[in-house]
């Protein structure tokens, strides 16, 4: 893991959904600044509505912020940058009418990878996530965990320097999350990708991340960044260690009040369409 190099440069990014002064407008993200180091895995964690997904969308170029700039590799982000950034969503974003293999290849087609490389890259990334034998299955035939593995394979095959993951395990059960988390840690230990990972789960954040950015309640900004000093790949034994518990407790302390604040001020669902 190379040190020092800033891969993503976030300066004073804030966002508002709807026009200022309108009844429907909501300030989703307060001015936030952040430097993400090349090769690190940074977790964004915070209460519902704090703006962590909004920030991720801004970094990924899927959303133009109301104010502030993001620079990736020195270039300002003005839209999706498929050659530099790959995105994994919480909702299943695999095309249901294509097999797993076809889905992976389609991603490469969109990015512009030459056709001759498709087969080899697809095979490699499917093997990396452990789905090699399910290449010809349709997403509808796979479990939730397998579908997210496929999404990960698709993202890996794009060979981008940066991977953005928006609560990728959010829709999965606890046990699947645990397995996938461990496998992800092993997989990412061997790459030099910069990863930004949004999650709700404290344990997941501590287990996977090099640094954890804790958000305050809406309109959110980064309250504190916690370092997790533990080499990758992280062993299952880490989860039961004292260091883990301390870090997790620290996160809990930081988050608890923010979560309460977020829940008590939550507007009735449906009025504000903005992303969290």
């Amino acid at each position: 893991m190379s040190a020092g190099d800033v891969a993503i440069h976030v300066r004073n990014v804030g966002h508002q959904f709807g026009e200022a002064g309108e009844a429907r407008s909501v300030r989703a993200l307060a001015d936030t600044s952040l430097d993400i180091v090349r090769g690190e895995l940074l977790c964004l964690i915070g209460p519902s509505g704090c703006g962590k997904s909004t920030l991720l969308n801004v970094i990924g170029g899927l959303l133009t912020p109301s104010n502030g700039t993001v620079q990736v590799g020195g270039k300002p982000v003005r839209g999706p940058m498929p050659n530099d950034i790959a995105y994994i969503f919480q909702e299943n974003a695999l095309f249901p009418w294509n097999t797993v293999d076809e889905n992976v290849r389609l991603g490469m087609l969109f990015q512009g990878v030459p056709k001759i490389e498709h087969a080899a890259r697809a095979k490699k990334s499917l093997e990396a996530v452990g789905l090699a034998e399910f290449a010809d299955h349709y997403p509808g035939q796979l479990s939730g965990g397998m579908r997210q593995r496929a999404a990960l394979a698709r993202a890996l095959s794009l060979q981008t320097g940066i991977l953005l993951m928006d609560e990728p395990f959010g829709a999965l059960d606890e046990q699947t999350r645990m397995i996938l988390g461990e496998d992800l840690s092993v997989l990412l230990a061997s790459t030099e990708k910069t990863i930004v990972f949004v999650t709700h789960s404290l344990g997941e954040a501590v287990f996977l991340a090099d640094r954890v950015a804790v958000f305050s309640a809406r309109p959110g900004t980064i309250k504190k960044i916690i370092k997790v000093d533990e080499p990758h790949p992280r062993k299952p034994a880490f989860v039961t260690s004292e260091k883990f518990t301390e870090l997790r407790n620290e996160l809990y302390a930081l988050l608890h009040d923010e979560i309460r604040k977020a829940v008590s001020s939550e507007a009735p669902r449906g009025r504000n369409g903005g992303a969290v």
Partner: protein, 274 residues
């Protein structure tokens, strides 16, 4: 152990006697299709008896006589040609309706403004009783196959348009976002995301469109026809030959069933991922 053995011995004889009705009942329970067939056979029997005993043979023909006169009916001069002509009209009307329906559906469904503006008009026209303008179609296109085809097209095109528009619309936004994030161009999104998503709806539309085409063509045929089946239904009615009339209608019903089945199978085949 002994008691079980002895009870088994005891019941063996009983079960041997009861085996036939018990297994028969179980067989029927597991195969409702057989019972359904039985119901149909029963209805045919009722028809047979009623036609022979109760009703005047001028008006209703028993199924047996319909069956035996199939040969003569088909041998009647012009009937096979009429059937072929009807099939031709159906096929052409279907092809035209599907093509126009797909084109219109995409034109209206893809741009959101077009959909908001024109869909209400489409639905309004779809809801109107087209049968009232059938005489107009005949005046415009003549009494030949052209009017039948045209009437079939106007009936078949609407379900296709409506289903294609619906199919384009209910695409999960996350799929579009995902494609965008991977750098897909507008054309690539159309070809690899929107189009495959729309295909099952399109095939469902084709199934409904076939129903519409059948209705339109047959209505037009029954209204006026010089060489088509409408001509012969009129003839058989006026000459009080119910056996031939039943036979002809049965053939047409069979044609309708076959065509519907073909489209239904195509729909299933292309909707496998759903």
């Amino acid at each position: 152990m002994t008691s079980v053995q002895s009870s088994r011995v005891q019941t063996a004889g009983l079960r041997g006697n009861e085996r036939t009705p018990a297994t028969a009942r179980r067989f029927l329970l597991r195969h409702p299709g057989v019972v359904r067939l039985g119901v149909v056979v029963l209805l045919l029997l009722v028809w047979e008896i009623a036609a022979r005993v109760v009703v005047d043979p001028m008006f209703i023909s028993p199924p047996s006589r319909v069956f035996t006169s199939l040969g003569t009916m088909l041998g009647t001069d012009g009937v096979p040609n009429a059937l072929r002509l009807t099939f031709f009209e159906l096929a052409v009307a279907f092809a035209i309706a599907v093509t126009i329906g797909l084109a219109l559906g995409l034109a209206i469904g893809l741009p959101p403004f077009a959909r908001r503006s024109f869909m209400p008009i489409v639905l309004l026209v779809y809801g109107m009783p087209q049968i009232t303008i059938l005489p107009l179609f005949i005046l415009a296109f003549g009494i030949g196959p052209a009017s039948k085809i045209a009437f079939g097209v106007t009936h078949g095109v609407f379900p296709v348009v409506v289903t294609v528009v619906a199919g384009v619309q209910n695409l999960k936004p996350i799929l579009l976002t995902s494609a965008r994030s991977m750098g897909a161009s507008r054309w690539q999104i159309l070809r690899w995301v929107i189009f495959p998503h729309m295909i099952p709806s399109f095939f469902a539309g084709m199934r409904l469109g076939m129903g519409g085409v059948l209705l339109g063509v047959l209505l037009a045929e029954l209204y006026v026809s010089t060489a088509g089946i409408g001509h012969f239904t009129t003839m058989f009615t006026e000459t009080f030959q119910p056996n031939k009339l039943f036979g002809l209608i049965a053939m047409l019903a069979a044609m309708a069933i076959v065509l519907n089945e073909i489209v239904r199978r195509a729909e299933n085949r292309f909707s496998r991922w759903r």
